[in-house]
């Protein structure tokens, strides 16, 4: 094999192999996929007993089963009790979890996992988190630019076929969501890959 073709074969083969195997691992291994992400955190705000912080979101998939919130427990000092709840748009309590400052790092993501909620697609939900204990050092919860809670919500994939479609769809949307980067990246790929194809075909 010509030496100038070998690096191109390696590049194409390794590039495709890594992406393919990674997507395969994600498709086969992942049970809980991202539904809604508003995890960009602008700041941490303290919250006090009796004053819950809330955030609403509309689920994009059925079987919502995980909500992740961002907390900050300065010096791991707070060991008080907290309550997480998830309610429907009508105010029906769907999920309630108690958790402790012991579970909260500085900072850390705290995961609330519950039985998948069927028929959640298109439904509006309200997340709330409140401090229960009095006289504990302040704890911060992440909020986004709009002042609402920073959070991520995940859903349980129904079956492999739907999971594959979701995986590819999410990936495509994320790529196309940054049009400038995607355009420049694709251009660089196209130019280099084109050079590689030219070299390979020239020698054949």
């Amino acid at each position: 094999m010509s030496e100038s073709r070998l690096p191109w074969y390696l590049s194409f083969a390794l590039g495709v192999l890594f992406i393919f195997l990674s997507l395969l691992a994600a498709w086969l291994g992942v049970r809980n996929r991202l539904d809604t992400d508003q995890s960009f955190r602008d700041a941490f705000v303290s919250f006090s007993p009796g004053k819950p912080l809330t955030q609403t979101f509309t689920a994009r998939h059925d079987f919502i089963n995980i909500v992740i919130l961002q907390f900050k427990n300065p010096g791991l000092a707070n060991r008080g009790e907290f309550r997480f709840s998830l309610k429907s748009e009508e105010g029906v309590l769907l999920v309630e979890r108690s958790f402790s400052g012991y579970n909260i790092g500085d900072p850390s993501l705290v995961r609330f996992q519950f039985d998948p909620i069927p028929a959640s697609r298109g439904e509006r939900f309200a997340i709330a988190v409140e401090a229960v204990s009095l006289n504990e050092p302040p704890i911060g919860v992440g909020i986004g630019r709009t002042g609402g809670l920073s959070f991520s919500a995940y859903y349980r994939t129904a079956d492999k076929k739907a999971g594959l479609a979701d995986l590819l769809n999410n990936l495509t949307q994320k790529l196309l969501g940054d049009k400038i980067f995607f355009a420049l990246w694709a251009l660089a790929l196209f130019l280099l890959a084109g050079q590689g194809v030219k070299v390979i075909r020239r020698k054949l």
Binding site: E3, S4, L6, P7, W8, L10, S11, F12, L14, G15, F18, I19, S22, L23, A25, A26, G29, V30, R31, N32, R33, L34, D37, S39, F40, R41, D42, I66, Q70, K72, P74, G75, D106, P107, S108, L109, S152, Y154, L167, N170, L171, K174, L175, G177, D178, F181, F182, W185, A188, L189, L192, A193, Q195, G196, V199
Partner: protein
């Protein structure tokens, strides 16, 4: 010759272009938190913070991703390029850096990952350029470059993880090039010192450069002092800082290289890695004057370090430029290198850290972070510690064998 013409006729251009393609394909989609932590901390340099160690100690609310554990030049270096990266990344880049290690679902994540890996890529290509200059034989150049750009260690540690160990590795190869190729050992020593001021391991190469390249004991001492000087210049202003001493001087490497020991009683241990390095140094002193040996010692030092310690995956980058040189010259190194890399890969994939295996894929699907580490998955079939130990033993055996070949065996005569 015009610049365009120089580029077109550049030896092994196709290898460089193909390597660039692979990096462009993979860089946006794989993530490890270490490089994000470095960029998060380096942004304070743009705000005028010089003593980052004291700054983080006095502002614990900023210490959200851990302390800065590298020597000061690494901070200044990343801090200098931070404004450019931030300008290209966009206004939300700083917020992303301040988020936790699992912040992979944010918009523009692919852009961020690509940009923060540009610096390691640039130094990978600089190492490639140095390999072209060091190896005069066309076939050796091609083999060395193919190995350098497409080996599993570079792919894993530089492309997927974005680790910056390739930056001090560049300085160690530059030291070799200047000391042996250009017959400028003083510059070589300074290069090691600059590399050491970014990550301390190049300082371990300095005694070998001094002893091999110094004409007499005076020049050997001079080379050593000049080599240490950049490190001292950059670290001296911070030595009085307790945080600097705690976080950087007592680094992961310096602790781990002293862990492997033979207990001889009464609280004493023979430190095996140090023993090996001293014996190697004495061999270099015995054979001093043969500058062609220097590449062998520069390869041997990191291989001994890794063979005898619980290494971080990216540490093998330290040896790769020199391994590329030797594997280009001797086909018989192929088998021990394959075993070395298998041992390395098996060892690191069994670390109890999800970001060293499946976690790397999290930008493709954040749900992958819910999966346990590979080690935990395998524990149902095999005892992970034993399996990891087997892989590390394979690695150590082949590392030591490679050192024997390049330093003392027939390979030495061919260089």
């Amino acid at each position: 010759m015009s610049i365009i013409k120089k580029i077109v006729v550049f030896p092994c251009l196709q290898i460089f272009l193909a390597a660039a393609l692979l990096r462009i394909i993979l860089a946006p989609f794989f993530f490890h938190p270490d490089i994000k932590t470095i960029f998060y901390i380096s942004q304070f340099f743009a705000n005028g913070v010089i003593n980052i160690y004291e700054y983080l100690a006095q502002n614990p609310e900023k210490l959200i991703l851990g302390p800065f554990v590298y020597p000061p030049l690494a901070y200044f270096f990343f801090g200098s390029i931070f404004p450019l990266i931030r300008a290209l990344a966009g206004p939300a880049f700083g917020q992303w850096l301040a988020m936790g290690n699992e912040a992979v679902a944010v918009p523009h994540i692919f852009r961020y990952l690509f940009l923060i890996k540009l610096l390691p890529f640039a130094f990978e290509f600089l190492v490639g350029g140095l390999l072209v200059k060091i190896l005069k034989n066309s076939r050796e150049r091609q083999l060395a470059l193919l190995f350098w750009f497409f080996n599993p260690v570079n792919i894993y540690a530089v492309i997927l993880m974005g680790q910056f160990d390739v930056v001090p590795a560049f300085f160690t190869l530059l030291a070799l090039y200047w000391a042996v190729g250009q017959k400028k050992p003083l510059w070589g020593a300074v290069a090691l010192g600059i590399g050491g001021a970014m990550k301390s391991y190049p300082l371990l190469f300095l005694p070998f450069l001094a002893i091999v390249c110094g004409r007499d004991w005076r020049q050997q001492i001079k080379l050593f002092i000049l080599g240490v000087a950049p490190y001292v210049i950059f670290t001296l202003p911070f030595v009085t800082s307790p945080s600097f001493r705690a976080d950087t001087l007592i680094s992961g490497l310096s602790q781990r290289m002293f862990l492997l020991g033979l207990d001889i009683g009464f609280g004493e241990r023979i430190l095996v890695v140090l023993l090996a390095l001293v014996i190697l140094f004495l061999l270099a002193a015995w054979r001093s004057g043969s500058k062609q040996d220097l590449a062998a010692y520069f390869l041997a030092v990191p291989l001994f370090l890794l063979a005898g310690s619980h290494f971080h995956p990216q540490w093998l980058i330290w040896a790769m430029p020199f391994l590329a040189i030797f594997i280009a010259k001797e086909n018989k190194l192929f088998l021990p290198v394959v075993i070395l890399l298998m041992g390395w890969l098996g060892t690191i994939l069994l670390f109890d850290d999800k970001f060293l295996a499946l976690g790397l894929l999290s930008p493709l699907d954040p749900g992958i972070l819910f999966l346990p580490p590979l080690r935990e998955l395998l524990s149902k079939i095999f005892q992970p510690s034993l399996l990891q130990s087997i892989f590390h033993t394979l690695f150590s055996a082949s590392a030591i064998w490679i050192v024997c070949l390049v330093v003392a065996g027939k390979q030495h005569e061919r260089i």
